[in-house]
């Protein structure tokens, strides 16, 4: 059984590799000569409906894919991955790093006609980013005030130095602005605008039919003259991945973002000239597959056992046979696409070596008992993607070969978070770590001690390391970009040495796009971006 599966997936993956290589180059050639065509309806696959659509209140791709066309952030990332102004035109930091000034774009209006001003920025920063927005509340923990000397200047005041370098890389995700006049009265969480967002973006919200579709129309007063090109965007709610693939094939959906289709369907569509299957445009949302160790188990508290587990799993084999070109071997908590922070030296790596794994386990005192079993572990895979599920089975089979029996316990999303991060009822957990352009945003919390119990995607391993705590704290307030990079290099090496979490696989999301779409995938967070320049050829 298992061999058949490997063979099938392998064949699919290999065919895909070739097809993707051919496809990625082709569409770009066409761009230069063509003039954008106005009009058209862009249809997008929407797999998992969220509870609200306002990106100032929820930082997740499921919100950006819709709210990111209606509302805009202060800054976004350009094609080279560097911060570029959207609602902010320029910025500067004071010498001590405690005040950061943003000069805002003039002549921008909200969809209801009211002007966009610094009061909106101040309100959003203090009431939403600092109080409600996930990761925003951590990022803006030391934000004390936002001064508005005039309508187009916002000065962020911090209690402790805030590296401008960090803020600019965090704001594309955590810097969406909402209108003060919409939100100032009443409870922000129950505001009707959360499901009918009002923004400054190129598209105006029209309608949300739960379980069916969301519609946004061209904003004729958009501040980039002559844009957007599209008349309308329709997000179709399709929960079944195979059904979504069928709709893509039938031309009813032009874009399926963030690995919304199954690996095999993506591989199949990649061979079809009518579709483009690419990881490009997703460099801003890299993720690593993880194995988290629970130090409350005496076996796992021993570094040699953690090293042995890493050495026992043949990662290149798994990637080649199950994930194909969509993934590569991970080197540490900072993925290689992070040009600003990826260190030259990642510290110890754990190549596949079954004999070494067995030797390490013997040394740690866990000799094989009757039947060859040393000890048993409970592995909790997260339910986010099929790759995690496949990886869990692969871990199970790999570890059984070195005498560790693994029981896989599957949960849905809520159950997984509760059991791992609150109840700590796991020995091994496996999921994704999402990297958000700067390690201080969502990476260091996986390692820093003192995280409150129950906070998801944080250090709940029962592991404390004063060395890594100090590196993390120093880097968080270091103003010099070069020194920050050096500190995070140290952080990666320490993380790989102590190995509280192993990050063996690095992946980018996969986009499936109809070939008649133009100007797609042109920034590192294209799926989340405003799509102001997107158009559809005849």
């Amino acid at each position: 059984m298992s061999f058949n599966r490997i063979e099938m997936t392998r064949r699919a993956a290999l065919m895909t590799s070739a097809a993707i290589a051919a496809n990625v180059v082709a569409p770009w050639r066409a761009f230069a000569q063509e003039t954008p065509r106005k009009g058209g309806v862009f249809t997008v696959h929407y797999g998992a409906e969220q509870r609200q659509l306002n990106p100032s209140l929820q930082a997740s791709t499921g919100v950006y894919i819709i709210g990111g066309k209606i509302q805009e952030p202060l800054v976004d990332l350009d094609a080279a991955g560097q911060p570029v102004g959207v609602l902010a035109e320029s910025w500067e930091s004071s010498k001590d790093g405690k005040s950061i000034t943003f000069r805002l774009r003039k002549g921008v209006t909200w969809h209801d006609g009211k002007p966009f001003t610094s009061a909106d920025v101040a309100f959003t920063a203090l009431e939403m980013w600092k109080k409600i927005l996930n990761y925003g509340s951590t990022l803006q923990l030391f934000l004390t005030a936002v001064d508005t000397p005039d309508a187009h200047t916002a000065v962020f005041r911090y209690e402790r130095p805030m590296p401008l370098h960090l803020l600019l890389r965090a704001l594309p995700d955590l810097g969406y602005v909402s209108a003060k006049h919409i939100y100032e009265a009443g409870d922000i969480r129950t505001n009707p605008a959360n499901l009918a967002p009002v923004g400054t973006g190129p598209f105006k919200f029209v309608q949300y039919e739960r379980g069916q579709h969301i519609i946004a129309d061209r904003n004729p007063n958009y501040w980039r003259n002559g844009q957007p090109y599209l008349d309308r965007i329709v997000w179709r709610v399709v929960t079944d991945r195979s059904a979504a693939a069928a709709q893509v094939e039938a031309g009813q959906i032009l874009f399926s973002p963030f690995s919304g289709l199954t690996i095999s369907d993506s591989a199949r569509l990649a061979k079809d000239k009518r579709f483009i299957v690419t990881t490009k445009g997703n460099e801003g949302n890299p993720r690593t597959n993880t194995i988290e160790f629970n130090f409350r188990r005496k076996e796992l508290a021993d570094l040699r056992v953690r090293q042995a587990i890493a050495h026992a799993i043949n990662i290149p084999f798994f990637i080649e046979n199950f994930l194909g070109d969509f993934a590569k071997v991970g080197t540490g908590p900072i993925p290689s696409v992070s040009t600003d922070f990826y260190p030259a030296d990642n510290g110890p790596q754990y190549a596949y070596d079954k004999a070494l794994a067995a030797k390490l386990l013997d040394e740690a005192g866990f000799k094989a008992g009757p039947g060859g079993t040393r000890f048993s572990l409970r592995l909790l895979p997260a339910p986010w993607g099929e790759d995690i599920s496949l990886f869990a089975t692969f871990i199970q089979q790999s570890l059984s070969e070195v005498g560790i029996r693994v029981e896989i316990v599957r949960n849905d999303g809520g159950g997984f978070l509760k059991q791992v991060y609150d109840d700590h009822a796991f020995d091994l957990a496996s999921g994704w770590h999402q990297y958000r352009n700067d390690p201080a945003v969502s990476t260091t919390v996986w390692y820093r001690s003192g995280q409150p119990k129950g906070a998801p995607w944080t250090n709940q391993w029962g592991w404390t390391d004063p060395v890594i705590d100090k590196i993390i704290d120093d880097a968080a307030t270091e103003l010099d970009p070069a020194k920050r990079k050096a500190l995070y290099g140290e952080f990666v090496r320490r993380a790989n040495t102590e190995l509280p979490i192993w990050t063996p696989i690095e992946q980018l999301f996969l986009s499936v796009i109809n070939a008649k779409v133009r100007n797609h995938s042109n920034t590192p967070r294209w799926g989340s971006s405003t799509w102001h320049d997107l158009w559809i050829a005849e």
């Binding site: 309806v41 998992a48 930082a59 069916q212 079944d240 069928a246 039938a250 159950g415």
Partner: protein, 325 residues
């Protein structure tokens, strides 16, 4: 009026049943690890502990289980189904939005299955053990044995992707605006494949039942009497055999209306239809207790209503039930 009192008694008996079901589901969901805030965190991709605490208070999850259940039942007595955590609006509104699509799909699939099940069952019984019977029975077996998600996906591949006769999903075309009759036709076009997919499984059951009960009734004494009277064959089949053979079919419909309501989650997902099945599934994943209990409540009401109609139909088909023989 005997039938009404019979139906009335049935209705009265269903009240405690509904209550027990609601309490049972409430307690069952308490056993699932995680609550709606965990599910929300999973969707958001992270959040700090203070936010989680605040959200639990916001959703009333900081109370004890007994207090939550008490609150819920007290609201239910006042016909208040509560507030949906995922949708941010009253549960009644959420369900009311989904109910039309579900009922439309359910009624069209049931009618399709009932009508063709009946016709094919009669044909098979009339030509028993001849080739039409074998053909129909084999087809029925194939329909019954095919999983509906596969059937749905294959229908999409053939009819939507290759032949492009029908749309691959959704309830109506949203890229163009249709009104009046055009809108009705558009929705009908969208419902063809889901109706067939959902209907085929039930069709198989109905035709088997119909065939069996036709064969049984055909050999009874009164049929022989009818034939002996010199009635023509069509009249015998329609007036005498069919009418009596219909009783088990009607019973089955009453039972299956409920199953179909919940069982369409697969068809709804494959064809991206906004129905109650998908809503229920989502409520479980999102641990949205109010919505789930609301759906259970409404489904129970629908099942009770269908059974009530079934009881009335019995009386129409078999006068002995009302005459008290």
């Amino acid at each position: 009026m005997r039938i009404l009192s019979l139906a009335g008694r049935r209705l009265a008996a269903s009240v405690p049943t509904v209550l027990l079901i609601l309490i049972g589901i409430f307690l069952l969901l308490q056993f699932a690890p995680g609550d709606t805030v965990d599910a929300m965190m999973a969707q958001m991709g992270g959040g700090d502990a203070a936010t989680a605490r605040e959200l639990r208070k916001f959703y009333g999850l900081d109370l004890s289980v007994a207090a939550q259940l008490g609150n819920y039942l007290w609201r239910l007595v006042r016909f208040d189904l509560g507030f949906s955590a995922i949708y941010g609006k009253p549960v009644v509104t959420v369900i009311a939005e989904r109910l039309p699509a579900t009922l439309l799909l359910m009624i069209s699939a049931l009618s399709f299955a009932f009508f063709f099940g009946l016709v094919l069952g009669v044909v098979a019984a009339r030509r028993v053990n001849k080739w039409p019977d074998t053909l129909i029975s084999t087809l029925g077996l194939i329909f019954y044995a095919t999983p509906s998600f596969w059937f749905g996906l294959m229908a999409i591949v053939v009819f939507s992707i290759y032949l492009q006769w029908f749309p691959p999903g959704g309830l109506e075309d949203i890229t163009t605006v249709n009104t009046g009759l055009w809108r009705v036709l558009d929705i009908a076009r969208h419902l063809v494949l889901p109706t067939l997919t959902l209907g085929f499984i039930y069709l198989a059951i109905y035709l088997r039942i119909m065939r069996a009960s036709m064969l049984e009734v055909q050999n009874l004494d009164f049929v022989r009497t009818a034939r002996a009277k010199g009635l023509d064959e069509t009249r015998v089949v329609v007036r005498h055999v069919l009418r009596n053979a219909l009783l088990p079919m009607v019973t089955l419909i009453g039972l299956q209306a409920g199953t179909m309501l919940g069982g369409s989650v697969v068809v709804e997902s494959v064809f991206s239809l906004p129905g109650l099945g998908r809503l229920a599934y989502e409520s479980v994943i999102q641990r949205d207790l109010n919505t789930l209990l609301g759906i259970v409540f409404v489904s129970a009401l629908v099942v009770i209503a269908v059974n009530f109609v079934t009881d009335l139909l019995y009386a129409r088909l078999d006068p002995r039930i009302t005459s008290g023989v």
